[in-house]
Amino acid sequence: MSNTLTALKALIKKDLVLYFSNRRALLMSIAAPIAIAAFFGAVFGSGGEKPTRVPIAVVDADGSALSKAVVAALQGDTTFEVRELAEPEAVALAQKGKVRVAIVLPAGFGAKTPAALMGGGDKAAVTLHYDPSQAIALPMVRGLLTQHVLKAIGETMGAAPGGAGPPRSAFSAPYETQALATTSTADRPYNGYAHSFAGMGVQFILFMGIEVGVGVLLARRLGLWKRLRAAPLSRATLLGSHILSGALTALILLAIIYAAAIAVFNVRIDGSVPGFIGIAVAFALLTSSFGLLIAAIGKTPEATRGLAIFATLIMVMLGGAWVPSFIFPQWLQTVSLVVPTRWAVDGLDAMTWRGLGFGAAIGPIVALLFFSALFAAIAIWRFDWEEPRG
């Protein structure tokens, strides 16, 4: 029994010593949960944060005193960040995901709504063009719109809000709403798989990029790097081959993932096909240059893999692949603009279910190529060409 106990203690001690002597792994075990918990705490509110304003657009096609009062009330509501626009611009913003909802107050709204409130006449039809990938904002917009309309009616009719209304049992909204998802075409319903495939495709292809980088580190450890470097090849050829092979692998993987999405989940490229291809190519280059950056910064394959997965998860979270970016605090939304995954996910969304044209792909393509060049430049600068000495 005592021999067993001695052996058991020695084995336990060995495991503890080995684990706690690996400082990088230890740091990851502590830093990762703290960082991710901090992220979700920031996203879902810690109580002290100023609430994020929901971007909406409002179209006043009526121009009446009531519609103007409603627009003013919405603009004064700290829940919203309101832009007053013409209908085509407002709908376009919703389609691009720049606003969650575009509210269209129709002609006749000011005349029909007070009467409808009192129980007589036709109701005006308010159209709500909403971004279906962020439809969670729609019920909130509906509720606050109703509140502001009722308040405006009271103010414009010279009565206190709620004071001269109809009996509560007979209450209904004094206008009708028509919610329209801003998909590529009116007859194409929103397909939630399209956004999921963009997010998860980006995440797992970046994981492949990590393997590219770790592969370089393993090659160096195994001596393959020595053999490759001894060959009559320029550094540009050697590093360029890794960038191109990684990019080709990423491109093939993305093609297979989207082929499955199209064949099985009815995802469609409703926007520009050249734009989709452009974003895919730019993202593939980003993936491989990210892998090379990992190889340049990393020391050992084991430690580097853990750190790179952590960095990738943070990038993917900030990119909006897990939770929609609009629920981020404002500062985090700003930060996410300098995260390449955000451009990749938004770009793929734009070219698939949003159905946007090539113009909407230019921004993501330029951003992804910029990050690719930045990562590659840092990788080349930091890359340890010299063999570890023995």
């Binding site: 450890r221 001596g223 020595k226 053999r227 001894a230 009559p232 090849l233 000495r389 023995g390």
Partner: protein
């Protein structure tokens, strides 16, 4: 065929290689020996162009074809084949595909590449396993493929960095046969090893380095002449002995003990051996066996560096 002149390399304030020169001619195997940390790996890295020397030069080729090797030069590299100590092959790529890849790195393609791949596989005895993946090979077969990968572009110079580590005797002999065949073909071979018997069997000349400097460079016979003793006495004793006291005896030097085996260089068996045995008896040690032999490379190495080769 391969010449290094005055190579120097330091890392920080530590000089790893200092003014090291060596040359390897075609049809010759030169052994590069030294204890761990002597600067062998750094020297090999400079000879392959992997590490830039702080000072000194490396030349490849002879006569009009002689070229200086630098970190960025490509043409001289085509004439060098490197067999790293580590297995430098892709285990999940087919054997033929591995060699085709390494040949392509040197600009080979088409029929010529196929011929060279076949020739390299034939030389190392793996022609019948061309389609198999190295992951299915024994350690010895992987080592032979590791060598074939350096041969596929038919280089004039081959640099072997301990190519037989962890290899069974049968595979080791097969590798030696390969190396001797390459020498017959006129290749210049530089061979670093920890195994004295390999150096003794294979090498036409031996360069011993320590602390980054060449401490001896000659043929095996010439190296052995560096040792003043003409014989080595091996004595089995039943306990530890005072090595310093024995080494102080006339005509005795290089006294070492490993377990029960005592080794001593001895200038004259007839004159000096009795005094040595008497000293052992006087110290209370019982001698159970005595043999004598000519001094070997290991004795010379020990004498020059003061270290076992595996230290």
């Amino acid at each position: 065929m391969l010449e290094a002149r005055g190579l120097c390399k330091s890392y920080g304030s530590r000089a790893v290689v200092s003014d090291l020169s060596l040359a390897v001619a075609g049809g010759e195997i030169v052994g590069l020996l030294g204890p761990n940390g002597a600067g062998k790996s750094t020297t090999v890295a400079m000879l392959c162009g992997l590490v830039a020397a702080d000072a000194g030069e490396v030349f490849v080729g002879e006569g009009a074809a002689r070229q200086r090797l630098t970190e960025d030069s490509q043409a001289p590299r085509r004439r060098i084949g490197v067999v790293p100590q580590e297995l430098s092959i892709y285990e999940n790529l087919g054997t033929e595909a591995n060699l085709a890849l390494f040949g392509a790195l040197y600009g080979l393609s088409g029929t010529l590449l196929a011929e060279r791949v076949a020739a390299a596989l034939a030389l190392v005895g793996l022609a019948d396993r061309a389609r198999d993946k190295p992951s299915t090979f024994s350690g010895g077969m992987k080592r032979r493929l590791n060598i074939a990968a350096a041969l596929v572009h038919d280089p004039d110079i081959l640099i072997f960095d301990e190519p037989t580590v962890g290899v069974d005797p049968q595979s080791r002999n097969a590798i030696f046969d390969n190396l001797e065949e390459l020498r017959r073909r006129g290749k210049a071979l530089l061979y670093t090893t920890h195994y004295m018997e390999e150096a003794e069997r294979l090498c036409d000349r031996i360069v011993i380095v320590d602390h980054g400097k060449v401490v001896a460079s000659d043929t095996l016979a010439g190296i052995e002449r560096l040792l003043p003793a003409t014989q080595v006495l091996e004595i089995e004793v039943d306990g530890l002995v005072d090595l310093a006291a024995l080494g102080a005896l006339p005509g005795i030097d290089g006294v070492t003990q490993q377990g029960e085996l005592l080794r001593a260089g001895i200038a004259d068996l007839g004159c000096n051996a009795p005094a040595l045995l008497s000293a052992l008896a006087a110290s209370g040690r019982r001698v159970s066996r005595v043999t004598s032999a000519r001094p070997g490379l290991e004795d010379v190495f020990l004498s020059l560096t003061g270290k076992q080769l595996r230290d």
